[in-house]
Each structure stands twice: as C-alpha cells, then as structure tokens.
Amino acid sequence: MYREKVFNTAIGMVQDHGMAEDITQDTFVTVYKSILSFNEKSSLSTWIYRITVNKCLDHLRAKNRKKRMGLLGQLFNGDSGEIPNDKPDFEHPGVQLERRETSRYLFAAIETLPDTQKTVFVLAHIEELPQKDIAEIMNLSIKAVESLLQRAKANLRKKLGHIYDRRKM
C-alpha cells in the first residue's frame, strides 16, 4: 500500500522511473532505520510522504547542481547551452493510453516549476491528497498550500500557453 504511494509521488516529482525506484528503496530504508524515532505527532502516512518528498527534493537539487556545472562547462566550451525545457519526453505509466501524448506536456511544464510549487502540485493533482494532508507533509499552513497551488497552476497555464504558441508556429 505504501510502496505505491511512495513510488507514485517519486515518479511524479523526478519523472524518471529508475530514479523513482531508487528513491522508493531509500525511503523505506530510512523508514526502517528511523521508525523508533517516529513520534506519532503526525500519521504514519504523513511521515512516510514527508521522507519521500525530502528525498525527491534532494535528488532534484543534486540534478540542478549538475546542470549548472554542465552549463558552466558549455560556457567555456562555447556551446549554446540551451536546454529544451518544453520537450515532452516523460510519460507517467499510470496515465490512460489515449491521454498519454497530452499528459507529456503537463509533466514537461511541471518540470519547470520551483521545487515547492512542484511538490504541492504533484501531491494535490497526481497523488490527489487533500490540502490539509499536504500542509502536514510540508510543515506549512493550509493557506500557504493554497497559495502555492494557485501559483503553480498559474505558472503551468502560462508555460503551457507558450508551448501551445510554439507548436502553432
């Protein structure tokens, strides 16, 4: 039961099947090692989601660091350094077949969100968690979660609008 929740959250955030598997394994290793320190202030589910989200964010930060160093290398090597950020190449394995093509644009746009907005959107839209649970997982107020979600949706609409315009050209 938890393994699907963890894996689904991870794959929504990192958009890589192999990395999501690693994060899932690491999450359960951490849960196993830290279970005695679980203080039951939150539910077990919230605690496991929190560990998963933190591991995903660690991975995303490491990936961004590598990307920045890559850009630096390209600067010295004279490459253009342009990273295509609206190229839809990730297909979530749980999406219905007839919607897979369209969903790729959504995930490409999600990839461009700041980490906190990405987290909130994935937990709300992909995991379909209530805002109260998301607030507990992220140690935020419900209002803060609402605000982040609104901003995430606005940014996604803007990004998708640009993708639509580029497709029409």
């Binding site: 394994q25 290793v29 979530h92 394995p93 999406v95």
Partner: protein, 99 residues
C-alpha cells in the same frame, strides 16, 4: 480570439490528462532491493560542492606555502649608504631591499 479559446481549451485538456490516473507500480523486486540496501549499506559519498571546496582549500594552501618559500628564499639585495663616516665601510649602514 478563436485562437485564444482554442489555446485555453488545449490547456484545460492538458490539465485534465491525468484524470483517472492509476498509481504507477514499482518493480516486483523492490523488497529484495531494500533488504540488500539494509544488509550492505552504501558508502557515503561527499556531495559535489564539498569536494570542490576541499580542492580549492588545498590549492590555496599550496599557493600560500609556495609564496612563503619563495619570499624566504629571496636573495637580499643591499645598497650601501654613504654617511661621510670614515668608518662607514666598516659599519656597513645598509638599506636592504628584497625583490
């Protein structure tokens, strides 16, 4: 105008593309892999920036050591100053320059 309507319609379609999403399944060997990680913990690797900082610190130390050795080993250049004193050649009032 029509383009904007079509654009908004397409965006809505993209947003709704995850409706009816089924939970993705991890590999069947997940538990074996977790058990393996628990039995054989991975060595901790330093995060990327720490390695760079260590390398920078070593380089800085090497440059500083090199400077200390260089300046200590410099031959001292002296310029005799004529003071009119008949014993000047004996006293050797010198201004020392280090180049």
């Amino acid at each position: 105008m029509k383009n904007n309507i079509n654009k908004e319609k397409w965006i809505d379609e993209v947003f709704n593309s995850t409706q009816g999403l089924k939970r993705a399944q991890p590999g069947a060997d997940l538990y074996e892999k977790i058990a393996a990680k628990l039995s054989h913990p991975q060595p901790v690797s330093l995060p990327f920036p720490v390695k760079r900082w260590i390398a920078a610190a070593v380089l800085l130390l090497a440059v500083n050591m090199g400077s200390v050795i260089y300046f200590n080993g410099q031959e001292k250049k002296t310029v005799p100053v004529n003071t009119g004193n008949p014993l000047a050649s004996e006293i050797q009032t010198e201004t020392t320059y280090n180049y």
